[in-house]
């Protein structure tokens, strides 16, 4: 009763590349990239909001794809992750925002504030930080303030 592998790959490709426009432009063979990623990660893959970070960490270890990665793509992966977080609104109704840092991006994090009005999208912000290089995130329950947030490791 399992789905055809092709359908699963299409779903992963859609979910990843929908929010990665720069990587999407650079990558000449998205199907191979996603197939390679899935082949190595299928047994432990978690398609929750952290997927783009899992993908980034895998990508950074692939010599064959090293030409695809730079700071812009790394930033884009973090943006993709926080956008995916915002789309799971029923997991965190009372949260106001999230900030995410990566082991690959020194001194820089990506934040997202949920909209405060019915006609505005979430607001993305780039944040300078001095925390150690690691994959971590923090949730803010106070609109517009990261003060006092607690960093949590991103790994399962």
């Amino acid at each position: 009763m399992t789905l055809p592998a092709e359908i699963i790959l299409q779903s992963i490709r859609y979910q990843l590349f929908s929010f990665l426009p720069q990587l999407s432009l650079r990558c000449q063979n998205k199907h191979k990239l996603i197939s390679d990623f899935y082949a190595e990660n299928s047994s432990k893959l978690n398609m929750d909001w952290r997927l783009p970070v899992t993908f980034l960490n895998w990508l950074c270890n692939q010599k064959a794809y090293s030409g695809l990665i730079d700071e812009a793509v790394m930033t884009e992966c973090l943006i993709s992750a926080v956008l995916r977080w915002s789309l799971r609104g029923l997991e965190h109704c009372s949260a106001k925002g999230i900030v995410l840092i990566s082991q690959h991006l020194a001194g820089k994090g990506v934040g997202l504030w949920k909209s405060e009005t019915a006609d505005a999208m979430s607001k993305l912000v780039i944040i300078k930080h001095v925390t150690p290089l690691t994959d971590a995130y923090a949730i803010s329950y106070q609109q517009g303030s990261w003060e006092g947030v607690k960093w949590m490791a991103l790994a399962d």
């Binding site: 092709e6 359908i7 992963i12 799971r88 029923l90 006609d119």
Partner: protein, 260 residues
């Protein structure tokens, strides 16, 4: 028949408002997931006096712990009370594997094994939200969906839950050779609220896949026409998610109105 349009994103608000102002649509179905962080009064103000229905997509009420569900209900219950929706709907699907990892695609329940625990949880979720829930039939891709209509029949009988019948999802299941549309006949006769949307056919596998991005298929329009008498006292939401314009949406609404 009341025709609804689904509001899934803040950036669609101007389109929603225009279709409602032009009386093209009669009500708005709000996707709860993307707005539940806002006060109910903000939603009411954005939609003025428009009747509202509420569509929950990712409550994961079958997978959350009772305490997690109670916490979510604490937010949603006053929201529902304030918005006084035409209906509140949710989904009977799996988001995660048994280890809690999100799946690449939503998965159908095991309709033979999962009944007792699903029925129990449906009753708990209805009680926590203090409202009967309408559940949407799934757009089956695999043979796992063969017993879906039978499962729904039992579930609705035993829990007081209702069916939100999605015409295109039923057609998709039939196209994918999982479940004939006719198996829903009795349940559709009792249903009051309906959905319809576009789908696409995958080039390699030839499977029909729910997309909410295309125009409504001619075969699905034929299904709707066959139920036109039934639909006169019902609601029907025409769903679009992406790349939709006022003109495109209004055109789909006109097609449906002309059928009924």
């Amino acid at each position: 028949m009341q025709i609804g349009i689904n509001w899934t994103s803040p950036k669609k608000l101007s389109i929603i408002k225009q279709l409602l102002a032009e009386k093209s649509a009669d009500f708005c179905e709000v996707m709860v997931d993307n707005f539940a962080h806002l006060p109910a009064k903000t939603i009411l103000a954005a939609l003025s006096d428009t009747p509202i229905a509420l569509h929950i997509v990712s409550s994961r009420f079958l997978e959350k712990s009772v305490s997690q569900l109670q916490a979510l209900a604490t937010t949603l219950r006053p929201w529902i009370k304030a918005l006084q929706p035409i209906y509140v709907s949710d989904h009977l699907i799996k988001f995660c594997d048994p280890d809690g990892r999100y799946l690449p695609m939503l998965s159908e329940l095991d309709y033979e094994r999962d009944f007792i625990q699903t029925a129990k949880r449906v009753e708990e979720w209805q009680n926590l939200l203090d409202t009967p829930l309408f559940f949407e039939n799934h757009a089956s891709l695999t043979k796992a969906g063969r017993k879906q209509s039978y499962f729904f029949t039992r579930l609705l009988n035993e829990t007081g839950a209702k069916l939100l019948f999605d015409f295109s999802n039923a057609y998709i299941a039939q196209h994918n050779q999982v479940c004939d549309v006719s198996e829903w006949e009795t349940l559709v006769g009792q249903a009051k609220h309906f959905h319809v949307a576009g789908f696409h056919i995958d080039k390699k596998t030839r499977l029909a896949i729910d997309s909410h991005a295309q125009e409504i298929d001619a075969a699905v329009l034929t299904m709707i026409k066959a139920k036109s008498i039934k639909l006169k006292n019902s609601t029907l939401v025409i769903e679009f998610e992406s790349d939709v314009t006022v003109e495109k949406w209004a055109n789909e609404i006109s097609k449906i109105r002309n059928l009924i």
